[in-house]
Symmetry: C2
Subunit: 219 residues, 2 copies
């Protein structure tokens, strides 16, 4: 959620590219960075293009409107975040709940690395939801659903390996994680501390774990 | 957080007021409504004044800048919300944890009444934190701290009446409630459903309650 989503090149990108695809992805990446800081409406396309060294014409070559661009940014973020969750949640070298702890630790480190300037794109855009188009809202909720589904699979694994409390409703638990997580990222930015994320996770973990399981490093 | 914060008058307010205080509070209330929907930067002062039927000069009579106005709006929200929490959390006719459940039920009903258009002012502004002045950020975090302190008092009462698990760290629990709550309000708006709030609260409540206490209506 807070990880580097751009592999920075050396210096500012060239003013024009023979490969149009490169320019489009540069604009999308810069937009993703800006919107994870300040959301959709506060992101200025002019400022974005100036800092990325891209002429305005290029933007409208690739995107019909800021709205169209916003959809591309959410898509890019969903792809980036989906890859991150695959890497962490499907890391079978670690016990299932440890993988979730790995996600939390990586996100907290990412927040610190960016001095709590960057939050979660979905959280930022979610606060602007009354102003967003139905398409944007739909893409945001679908992405959130994807994260929930991925966590549900992880919790199924945790259950199979005996890490979970008996009778736990893992659908509700998966939903509750992302709900609490969005709030934790928000409060972490306000307080400039990863403590809200760690505190939420510690308490959340207690709702999952079987009293007979100690959370230790995976096999 | 999502409750009505304005007692609507009949029809639009008059274009001028002999009592300046009335005009100032009309502007602040309208600003509070708008910012709980869309945050600080997307709130247009021009639009605000037009819909409230107040001339632009009046605004700059009361506020030196939009920033100054934003501070007044956060203050107004903090007062409003503090009164709400007093009413609910200090309602000694109800068992302590029931009072917290009352808060959740009232907030969920408020979200529904406004068709999930309004969120939490602190959550909305929190997402814009990198763009806000240090004074605004300070006021937001102080308000969040006030809510946490009030919940801590309630949890102390719950402990005294035997409702809580032994050994619970109630400072961490109080912080975790507001963290998760901000996320729950955000996701409720995105999904246009109070289910995320109810789901979070059910799971959160399980982290507090003594297994020997059933949550039923207070004495």
């Amino acid at each position: 959620m807070t990880e580097l989503m751009v592999r920075r090149g050396r210096g500012r990108p060239p003013r024009s590219h023979s490969d149009g695809h490169v320019t489009r992805s540069v604009i999308v990446r810069r937009g993703t960075e800006m919107m994870t800081e300040t959301g959709f409406f506060s992101t200025s396309i002019d400022q974005l293009l100036t800092t990325a060294g891209i002429p305005k014409g290029s933007f409208y070559h690739y995107f019909s409107s800021k709205e169209d661009f916003g959809l591309a940014v959410v898509e890019n973020y969903a792809d980036y975040f989906g890859r991150k969750l695959s890497r962490l949640f499907e890391n079978t070298g670690r016990a299932p709940l440890i993988r979730l702890a790995d996600f939390v630790a990586e996100a907290a480190a990412g927040m610190e690395r960016y001095a709590f300037q960057r939050g979660c794109l979905l959280g930022n855009l979610g606060q602007e939801v009354t102003l967003l188009s139905p398409e944007m809202r739909e893409k945001i909720t679908a992405t959130l659903q994807d994260w929930e589904d991925r966590l549900l699979v992880l919790l199924q694994e945790a259950r199979a390996s005996g890490e979970l409390k008996a009778g736990l409703n893992i659908e509700d638990s998966a939903a509750c994680f992302w709900t609490g997580w969005e709030g934790a990222v928000l409060v972490a930015r306000l307080r400039r501390s990863s403590r809200p994320m760690e505190n939420f996770f510690t308490i959340y973990l207690g709702t999952l774990q079987s009293p007979f399981t100690l959370l230790t490093e995976g096999p």
